[in-house]
Symmetry: C2
Subunit: 172 residues, 2 copies
């Protein structure tokens, strides 16, 4: 348990956005491990509202890249995972968005644990309907985020957070 | 990397809801490690919308327990972490709820990695304003979920998920 404990807490602490990738395609085993992590997220009533589109195809990736100012990241990533919510199984907007967040975080932690790098792109939601069209997603599917994944060019990224004591407003 | 990889993917896969706890208080170091995991969640514009109330006090815990049909879980847990969104720093409802979900998942994975057990209670949101009143939360804080944490009585819980192939609607 000791080492597992350290590994999990470290992954949570050390995961960073990686926006530049080496020109190398992702192997299928790693991709499956990432999606596997996503599917084990918790959800209210275990409704599992997440649905995935996996895109390696350059032409389709380019079309999707047009829909965000972070297009360069998408073009540079060997694979992107578009995460949708199926509104047909959604039962509570707030809770289902939280579940999607848990699913994305699971996948991102898996990306990190696998020695890969990724970034969660939310800005593209401004064009979520266009992305759904490009991917000919079912009518009830709504884009929630795109996760770009690849082999990191570097891991120099730093980040900061408020301290725990700033976040606790009450302790009883 | 090999072992860390296994540890993280295992934690994601093996984490289960734990609803019954031993009658033992949680040590402060473990509690801090859980909150530490939560604070390192990603958020859009790094706005870190999560805020925490930590409750060990039996009387307050009982009052909160009245607000959900899962009150018994809350009464039986040595500590609960009420997670709020600060609507003053929120910039996008969908993305901020996703970030809260990532924060909750980080904490839940930490709980598991620490050998503890926990459960994410969302049903209590039906009385979110009453819980906010009990905790005298600032006006802009909105309850998002409660995480109950303790030493598990057992770990027999099973769960199931759709297969990855059921979740991928497109692969290009």
């Amino acid at each position: 348990m000791g080492e597992a404990r350290v590994a999990v807490l470290d992954a949570i602490r050390a995961r960073r956005s990686v926006r530049k990738y080496r020109d190398e395609s992702l192997n299928d085993e790693d991709l499956r491990a990432i999606l596997e992590a996503g599917r084990w997220a918790p959800s209210g009533l275990n409704n599992q509202p997440w649905r995935f589109a996996v895109v390696r195809d350059t032409k389709v990736k380019d079309e999707i890249a047009e829909q965000t100012r972070y297009g360069e990241i998408i073009r540079g990533a060997p694979v992107i995972i578009a995460v949708f919510m199926d509104n047909e199984v959604s039962y509570d907007r707030v809770k289902d968005c939280q579940s999607i967040g848990a699913c994305l975080q699971n996948m991102w932690l898996a990306v990190h644990a696998l020695g890969l790098g990724g970034v969660w792109i939310g800005e593209i939601l401004k064009n979520k309907d266009k992305v759904a069209d490009i991917l000919t997603a079912p009518e009830t599917y709504e884009l929630m985020a795109i996760l770009a994944v690849g082999y990191p060019q570097h891991r120099k990224q730093k980040s900061h957070r408020k301290s725990v004591s700033e976040l606790i407003f009450k302790e009883l």
